[in-house]
């Protein structure tokens, strides 16, 4: 059972962050289906999207249970508006080229992998159970993304240039992942979640090794320029994602599919 000394709303909000990151990144990744640069990549991207949608379903199911208002995972995905979504801005950005997509996967996966690894030791058994399932898939996603970042960074002149441009573009968004607010602090104090500073240290190690191998340069720019997604303050992009994703549920309220 969930820790009793933590209020439900805080835990609910935190679970939404996990679910929303997975759903929105899964949505973006799924946009590649049928349009990948090679058949093998197309299959791998669809697989990644499938994993992420699966994760969001598990987090939402738990969030709905914690909330206790009878909502379902689908209700949380399909019937909330943008200001109620708690994902980081990084995951809602448009895909760009395949280089930008893979760079984003890498930067997010390095965080996601370390976070889920830490969550397998959560004091909340339901959280640790979901994390244990998800981390296996994310470990593979991180492997694949970092491998591609290295190959493309150290590939041709053009692939190098594109990967560096992707890194430069995404960098001002990465800081939000580690920016702890009262919700993160409360979860860490309850032993449910790790301190984000610890995750950041591990993330830095992965990122710096991979970028070195990829012959890419760490941008000389603040990583926390674009923040606020976790509090429901998003980019303009999220509204369009939701308009598309939620269309049927909104147009035909109460219908079963």
């Amino acid at each position: 059972m969930v820790a009793l000394d933590l209020d439900r709303q805080t835990l609910f909000d935190w679970l939404l962050r996990l679910g929303d990151n997975a759903l929105i990144l899964g949505h973006r990744t799924s946009e590649w289906c049928g349009h990948g640069p090679a058949l093998e990549e197309d299959i791998a991207l669809a697989n990644t999207a499938l994993d992420l949608i699966g994760h969001c379903q598990m987090w939402y199911t738990l969030a709905a249970e914690v909330e206790g208002k009878g909502r379902t995972a689908d209700n949380l995905a399909y019937l909330r508006d943008a200001i109620q979504f708690k994902n980081v801005k990084l995951v809602e950005l448009p895909n760009g080229d395949i280089g930008q997509t893979m760079m984003r996967e890498f930067l997010f996966n390095a965080f996601h992998f370390e976070l889920l690894t830490a969550l397998t030791g959560s004091t909340d058994p339901k959280v640790s159970e979901i994390a244990a399932k998800a981390v296996k898939e994310v470990a593979y996603q991180l492997d694949r993304a970092s491998d591609l970042v290295v190959r493309l960074g150290d590939g041709t002149e053009e692939s190098h240039r594109r990967m560096q441009a992707a890194l430069d573009y995404l960098w001002p968004y990465v800081g939000e992942m580690f920016l702890a607010d009262a919700t993160d602090d409360a979860l860490a104090e309850a032993g449910i979640a790790p301190r984000l500073t610890d995750i950041q240290t591990k993330w830095e190690a992965i990122v710096s090794d991979t970028l070195d191998e990829a012959t890419l340069t760490r941008p000389d720019r603040r990583p926390d320029v674009h923040t606020g997604g976790k509090q429901g303050r998003h980019t303009e992009h999220l509204g369009y994602i939701l308009a598309e994703m939620q269309f049927l549920q909104r147009a035909y309220p109460g219908a079963e599919w």
Partner: protein, 327 residues
């Protein structure tokens, strides 16, 4: 059926070799990649398997069109998995085709230039969520009609690819039918969407088998080679016989006023599709030809730097290993 209008190539090979080859096929033997085969057999198979492979990957697009709009998380996962399966089928089939001495890149070039075709059905748009049901039920259903017999085709790699593909296709057909069932039993708007999807996809699905070929010389040669097992008319009849009761079970109406049960043939009499439409679609004048081929070309062109980057890295690594070994 994902391969349409496959003309057979004439062989100018030694008549004795040809006779021995035909005898092997007649005995039910499988032909394997490194064995001797008539040039015409090889070329015809490249055309057929290649067209089938292209159909799988172009076929990702009409369904991929609804992944981001799927109405529930579960439906989204099922649809994603299905479209991913189609890409996987493309991969097996391109691999089977490569055993005949043509590369995947060459096959892509022929698709992109328009020299090779893909099934006409994928040039129709998917306009509502019910189309995800109709495509699974009718399009995958029609594909299965053709592919089940092809598990016994004479070319080993193709026959084995078909065994795996058929297992997945029958799952796809069931999931499509489940969507139709939900819609047909849903709200009046949902039922109307389901009926509309059936109206739009019925005739294009019948066209998937191609025009009647019972008197075609190509068909006769391909059947002798066991590249083709049944005539187009046989398969179409089988499809109609299976599908009409399924439509009735859903409470939907097949859009054909001539549909009548024929006691003598123990099958349905039905209207032929408009073959002028079929030929127009094949020529490029279908509702979505430009979009579909355009999307494939764009994916390939946009991915060029990506593929080149990976190749360059692999070459650098090989050079580094070589340099390291020489030290």
């Amino acid at each position: 059926m994902y391969a349409q209008m496959i003309t057979s190539e004439k062989s100018s090979d030694d008549p004795e070799l040809l006779a021995a080859f035909q005898a092997r096929i007649d005995r039910g033997e499988r032909i394997e990649p490194k064995e001797w085969m008539p040039e015409g057999y090889r070329k015809t198979l490249i055309r057929q398997i290649g067209q089938h492979a292209h159909s799988e990957i172009v076929g990702q697009l009409p369904e991929g069109n609804w992944i981001t709009r799927a109405p529930t998380l579960e439906r989204k996962q099922i649809l994603l998995a299905k479209v991913q399966d189609e890409a996987g089928h493309g991969l097996y089939l391109y691999s089977a085709c490569e055993t005949l001495g043509i590369s995947r890149d060459e096959l892509f070039d022929r698709l992109h230039s328009g020299a090779m075709k893909y099934s006409s059905i994928f040039n129709y748009p998917t306009l509502t969520w019910a189309d995800m049901g109709a495509v699974g039920w009718l399009v995958d259903g029609a594909a299965i009609m053709n592919q089940v017999p092809l598990q016994r085709t004479s070319y080993g790699p193709y026959a084995r690819a078909m065994v795996r593909i058929c297992k997945e296709e029958s799952f796809h057909q069931r999931q499509g039918y489940t969507i139709m069932m939900k819609m047909a039993q849903g709200t009046p708007e949902q039922k109307a969407m389901a009926q509309d999807a059936l109206n739009r996809f019925w005739y294009p699905s019948l066209m998937m088998f191609g025009p009647s070929d019972k008197d075609s010389v190509h068909s006769a040669q391909n059947m002798a080679w066991k590249i083709k097992i049944n005539t187009n008319d046989e398969l179409r009849q089988r499809f109609v016989n299976e599908t009409v009761p399924q439509a009735r079970y859903l409470g939907l109406e097949v859009p054909d006023e001539n549909l009548t049960w024929n006691e003598d043939k123990q099958g349905w009499d039905f209207s032929e599709p408009d073959w002028s439409e079929f030929f127009a679609v094949l020529k490029g004048d279908g509702p979505c030809n430009e979009e579909r081929l355009g999307a494939r070309r764009k994916a390939w062109d946009d991915g060029e730097w990506f593929r080149d980057g990976l190749t360059a890295y692999a070459e650098k690594q090989a050079a580094r290993r070589k340099a390291h070994a020489a030290e």
